[in-house]
């Protein structure tokens, strides 16, 4: 599945990194503690977080994360948007909790071995 498929399927708003919409999403991950994400987020994942500062883009680049999804009606800082555009890392917005979206992604086959 590509990032743009997630955008269409779950009605996510693209706030930055449009050039990366054709990146492949192979897994999902939730978390807000950046050191933990740095250690554990799988390559190619869609990462759900409430953080909006620019370090999230650096983490996504480092871990080769496919897309960042900012959940809970939070938004990305201006610096974050600039960096994500430069790096081509899509930042998508979702108004409800990470839990709600993670459940939908998993049901749609993202990171779910049963549907692989």
């Amino acid at each position: 599945m590509m990032v743009k498929d997630l955008v269409d399927k779950f009605d996510l708003a693209v706030t930055a990194g449009e050039s990366g919409l054709d990146r492949e999403v192979t897994d999902g991950y939730c978390g807000d503690l950046l050191s933990e994400i740095m250690g554990n987020a799988p390559t190619g994942c869609a990462w759900m977080t409430v953080q909006g500062h620019q370090i999230i883009v650096a983490v996504a680049v480092q871990r080769e994360i496919a897309a960042i999804i900012i959940t809970g009606s939070q938004t990305a800082d201006d610096d974050t948007i600039k960096k994500a555009d430069q790096e081509g890392i899509p930042i998508l917005l979702w108004p409800h909790s990470s839990f709600r979206l993670a459940g939908r992604l998993f049901s749609a086959g993202v990171g779910n071995p049963a549907n692989a």
């Binding site: 950046l34 050191s35 740095m38 409430v50 953080q51 909006g52 500062h53 983490v59 800082d77």
Partner: protein
């Protein structure tokens, strides 16, 4: 919390609940030393010794509206996560000083947040309280004292929209200047 300024709102609220009528807030961004320090001080009644001995325990609280008090415990956890420290100095009848330090570049250090919005929120919500806010970035200082502003404004209340707008602009532009290395006295 998503931003450190929310911790500031939280601990300042504690100081006001403790009966303080003047609150000091100091932010020191020493980027070359890789340290961020936030100090808040009030002239309230001081903190109960029981809380002081159990800063990390959210179930020890003077709050009566709910069983847990999270403010200081959360701040303690935030500093610890970022290789920092939390120091609480409280004196019965004199007030409390809280000093939180963080490693500036620690990956888990939340951004400071919007200090102009924080200070104006406090001023609007607490018309009887004075605030002394100082902010230092790499040795350059800015400070603001609502006691002085009250005298200047004479007829206008501090929470008047015009005054708040003015405060917000002063803080925004001061912080921008501090970042470019200017000293504002």
């Amino acid at each position: 919390m998503r931003e450190l300024s929310l911790h500031i709102l939280d601990v300042v609220e504690n100081g006001i609940t403790a009966g303080g009528n003047c609150i000091w807030i100091e932010v020191d961004e020493a980027r070359k030393k890789d340290q961020l320090k936030i100090v808040t001080r009030d002239n309230g009644s001081g903190m109960p010794i029981e809380k002081l001995e159990n800063i990390n325990d959210p179930f020890i609280t003077s709050r009566t509206s709910r069983r847990v008090g999270l403010g200081l415990s959360l701040l303690a956890a935030a500093t610890k996560r970022c290789d920092g420290t939390l120091r609480v100095d409280t004196r019965p009848g004199k007030g409390t000083e809280i000093e939180a330090t963080f490693r500036y570049n620690h990956i888990d250090r939340a951004p400071l947040g919007d200090m102009a919005a924080t200070i104006t929120t406090l001023v609007i919500g607490n018309p009887g309280i004075d605030f002394v806010y100082s902010h230092c970035i790499d040795g350059n200082n800015f400070s603001l004292d609502t006691r002085e502003i009250r005298t200047e404004m004479q007829n206008l209340s501090l929470s008047h929209p015009v005054v708040i707008q003015h405060l917000s602009e002063i803080i925004h532009s001061a912080l921008k200047e501090l970042l470019t290395g200017k000293n504002i006295s």
